[in-house]
Amino acid sequence: MRSYILRRLLLMLPTMLGITLVTFTIIQLAPGSPAELKIRADQTGALGEQYTKEVIEQTKKLYGLDKPIHIRYLIWLKQVATLNFGESYKDHRPVMKIILERIPVSLQLSLTSIFLIYLLAVPIGVYSAVKQKSVSDRIITVGLFILYSLPNFWVAMMLILFVGGGQFFHWFPVYGLNSEGADQLPFIAWLGDRLWHLALPVACLTYAGLAFISRQQRAAMLEVIRQDYIRTARAKGLPEKLVVFKHAMRNSLIPIVTLAAALFPAILGGSVIIESIFSIPGMGKLGFDAILARDYPVIMGDATISAFLTLIGILAADLTYTLIDPRISFEART
């Protein structure tokens, strides 16, 4: 097992190298230059354009953009080897620091919503598989399909308008992750305040995944429930509860676990809309703003770390198989 993990971790190196090389090339070759964008941000009343050119060249040199692209990539790699992702063009703070500020915020959102998705989706899926073709199964099916097809920015807007104060109900806060002065609250009150703030964004991040995963769970369950060993289990007189939860459900979880690995990075990246709408300073918004401003160091830092998390997520999913299904083992089979 240990050697398997080690092998997988080593394999990540060339993968990461490839990912960063491709990302680096694409963003640097994309039209738009950070030096020009910065100088054009405010240009009314400036003097002569011949000077502007000179100043743009100075800025390029300051950002190290005067060197050819392959040299820049090597410089970047050398930096990253020491876990230094350079500094943002926006505020000259270390990229690592900026990202470390943001990751916990995004993780709070994504982990809470993944947890909720699985907490609800698995039982719903199992229930509708067991009650296949019943009225309740059909109602659940229709409901989930409706949820799945609602775009999340629209849902977020509706939630903000209808339960976020103004003309309608003032039930939830629509801005940030804390109330004013929440730092001074006792822990329990602070946690309550945080959860209250998380309610709407997490709801937006959860419902579509919930619909998707529970459908997958239903399908997997139906697949398993038709198997001979389930019939055997029933035939030998096991109580239905035991058949469903012990024999059928555990076997149906494997595809769902695989999906978790895919869901994790998707939620990190997909939250750019939700983070923007609810003014939550997370990773998605950071990456998006960096792309618009061509803030190369931040884009690269974001991409590298997201890629790394994705690879780790996939590895974690693979390892989870062994927990669910004892037949799967990564011990050396030589």
């Binding site: 694409i26 994309a30 039209p31 738009g32 230059s33 030096a35 020009e36 964008l37 910065k38 100088i39 054009r40 941000a41 405010d42 240009q43 009314t44 009343g45 003097l47 002569g48 354009e49 000077y51 502007t52 050119k53 100043v55 743009i56 100075q58 800025t59 040199k61 300051l62 500094e87 063009y89 926006k90 505020d91 000259h92 500020e101 915020v105 775009p151 807007m157 903000i160 976020g164 104060g165 103004g166 003309q167 806060p173 629509v174 801005y175 940030g176 990075p265 997909g270 809309i273 923007s276 709408i277 609810f278 003014s279 300073p281 918004k285 990456g287 618009l292 061509r294 974001d302 890629a307």
Partner: protein, 569 residues
């Protein structure tokens, strides 16, 4: 992953734009009333009779995004400028009402006979927020840093590139010498951002100096905290040498989404909300409870939008064609249907509320028949009977560049496309992300594009209209405008220190440009804002930053916050 994010956002913008287009597409030809009719909205909020200004209470403002840094020398975004304006002072201030320079850190100043030397005499009892005295060294140090290529201050550097000599006459007198006479030199020096030398000059890299997140100024407010991703808080400087504002604290909250911001305002957690969208203004803030807790205010904003025609390429190298293009755009109807009449159609590159704008020059009317006649004169007619105008065997087709994210640009483009279609012109709308859009414009690879310029109190048209800029890639004269007469007038105006004479020169430039139609000038928009009901004496002025926040106050009996706490929940 990165590209997917962009694609998702672009799609959302598209989807939003598409739903709203239907209503905007129906055009009515009636024009706007002379005065804005908007229920519940006012031009200014004056204190009720008998009300007395009282110190205290907080002002909570909203920022669309978090500033990068508060170091005024390396900062590039508007947000840091808004905050720094409270914390820091400049040598001179611009009086928003008279649009004249008035003393601030410098109590008086002199301009030499040859208009090349500017001497500033500094106030002697100004202290930085840490108690150290403010002297000429700080001023000189700040300018040195701006000019230092290792400092990330490129946009600022351009303003001072003509300053050839900086001299400390004594501890409280500085003298700057300019390479050539330029009427805006004094304005540039007046606005010079000043940082404390005793803090900054400690050997650390200027760009990374912790000062950027913990600034110290001489201004009416002191910096308190910056909670990353959330808010910045300032407190009133009791030892301020001038007249500080009335608010005890000023708080800036970062709220990205416009709808979210309006809801936060509705919840009472923001007191002043600028830049409401037209839809928010007309539809979402028009119910009685809203009026109970807020005032709506509107004001002109020093800016104009335009469609720029690339004069380097046919067919837009022909003045008649450009004039016809303007006459084919129903600007009045767009103003009415898309802007809900909140703005003005302009005829030239000046701000309508400054004397530089020649009010006698009227915008060209919407006149498709006359446009067709002009196009025919220029040789454009439907010779091959295919419904599209042609000349020398070439169809009249062009691409209209807009930047994604600009909802109004997209609506205007769609209306324009239909109008042009019926005149036999085929226009293709091309929407690009901002950075790519900018690159296309700067490299002249466009037929037509739409943009806006923000305007100063005193304009210098050199950068945008002088012919020497027309052949420089990346310059602001991206349409390639060349007119020797305009060149001469611009050069004269740049060296003219008499405002009245400059006004006359600019009136002549205005007329020449209006005749040449290098742009189809669009609108000077009205900005829309909501202010919490308890705040009074809110008066907009013609030029940026529009408001004198030091005038605003909350009458004693209405104050909501006191010291650190909420007074009434």
């Amino acid at each position: 992953m990165s590209t997917r994010k962009v694609a998702t956002i672009a799609l959302c913008v598209l989807a939003l734009g598409a739903c709203k287009l239907k209503t905007a597409g129906e055009q009515e030809s009636s024009s706007c009333p002379a005065k804005v009719e908007s229920p519940g909205a006012v031009e200014q909020i004056l204190p009720p009779p008998g009300s007395k200004p009282a110190a205290g209470d907080w002002l909570i403002r909203r920022l669309n995004a978090e500033p990068g840094t508060l170091n005024p020398i390396t900062a590039t975004d508007n947000y840091s400028q808004m905050i720094d304006a409270m914390i820091m002072d400049t040598l001179l201030d611009m009086d928003l009402a008279t649009q004249e320079l008035i003393p601030l850190l410098a109590e008086k100043w002199e301009v030499s006979e040859d208009k090349l030397t500017f001497t500033f005499h500094l106030h002697k009892n100004v202290k930085w927020h840490d108690g150290k005295p403010f002297t000429a060294d700080d001023v000189i140090y700040s300018l040195q840093r701006i000019m230092d290529p290792k400092v990330d201050a490129a946009p600022l550097r351009i303003y001072y590139i003509d300053c050839v000599e900086t001299k400390k006459v004594d501890a409280y007198t500085v003298r700057f010498t300019w390479r050539q006479p330029y009427f805006k030199a004094l304005e540039a020096l007046a606005a010079l951002p000043i940082v404390p030398k005793h803090i900054m000059d400690d050997g650390t890299d200027f760009n990374k100096h912790p000062y950027g997140r913990n600034p110290i100024g001489t201004g009416p407010y002191r910096f308190v905290t910056w909670e990353t991703g959330k808010r910045i808080e300032l407190v009133r400087n009791k030892d301020y040498f001038g007249k500080p504002g009335y608010f005890e604290r000023i708080i800036f909250k970062f709220i990205t989404d416009n709808n979210g911001a309006l809801q936060v305002f509705n919840q009472g957690e923001v007191d002043f909300l600028e830049r409401l969208s037209q839809t928010q203004w007309i539809k979402q803030t028009n119910y009685p409870e809203f009026f109970k807790r807020a005032n709506k205010i509107y004001y002109d904003y020093p800016q104009y939008s335009y469609i720029g025609w690339n004069m380097r390429r046919p067919p837009f190298d022909d003045q008649r064609v450009r004039t016809a293009m303007t006459m084919l755009l129903n600007r009045e109807a767009i103003l009415k249907n898309i802007y809900y009449c909140l703005g003005k159609v302009v005829s030239g590159p000046y701000y309508v509320n400054t004397p530089y704008y020649d009010q006698s020059i009227k915008p060209l009317p919407y006149d498709p028949d006359k446009a067709k006649a002009l196009l025919a004169q220029a040789g454009w007619a439907d010779h091959n009977q295919d419904g599209i105008l042609d000349k020398d065997g070439k169809d009249f087709k062009f691409e209209f560049l807009i930047s994604s994210g600009s909802e109004t640009a997209e609506k205007i483009a769609t209306i324009y496309k239909e109008d042009l279609q019926s005149a036999g012109i085929h226009m293709e709308i091309r929407k690009l992300e901002w950075a790519v859009f900018l690159q296309n414009v700067q490299e002249w690879s466009f037929d037509a594009c739409t943009l806006a310029w923000a305007l100063d109190a005193n304009p210098d048209e050199y950068q945008i209209w002088h012919s020497s800029m027309a052949d420089v890639k990346g310059s602001s004269n991206h349409v390639g405008y060349k007119n020797p007469e305009v060149d001469r007038l611009i050069e004269e105006a740049r060296q003219e220190f008499d405002k009245q004479k400059r006004i006359e020169l600019n009136h002549r430039i205005h007329r020449l440009i209006a005749d040449d139609q290098p742009y189809t000038f669009l609108f000077c928009p009205k900005e829309l804002a909501a202010v919490d009901k308890r705040i009074t004496n809110v008066v907009p002025y013609a030029i940026r930053p529009i408001f004198k926040f030091a005038e605003w106050y909350v009458p004693k009996d209405l104050q909501k916050y006191s010291g650190d706490r909420l007074q009434r929940p």
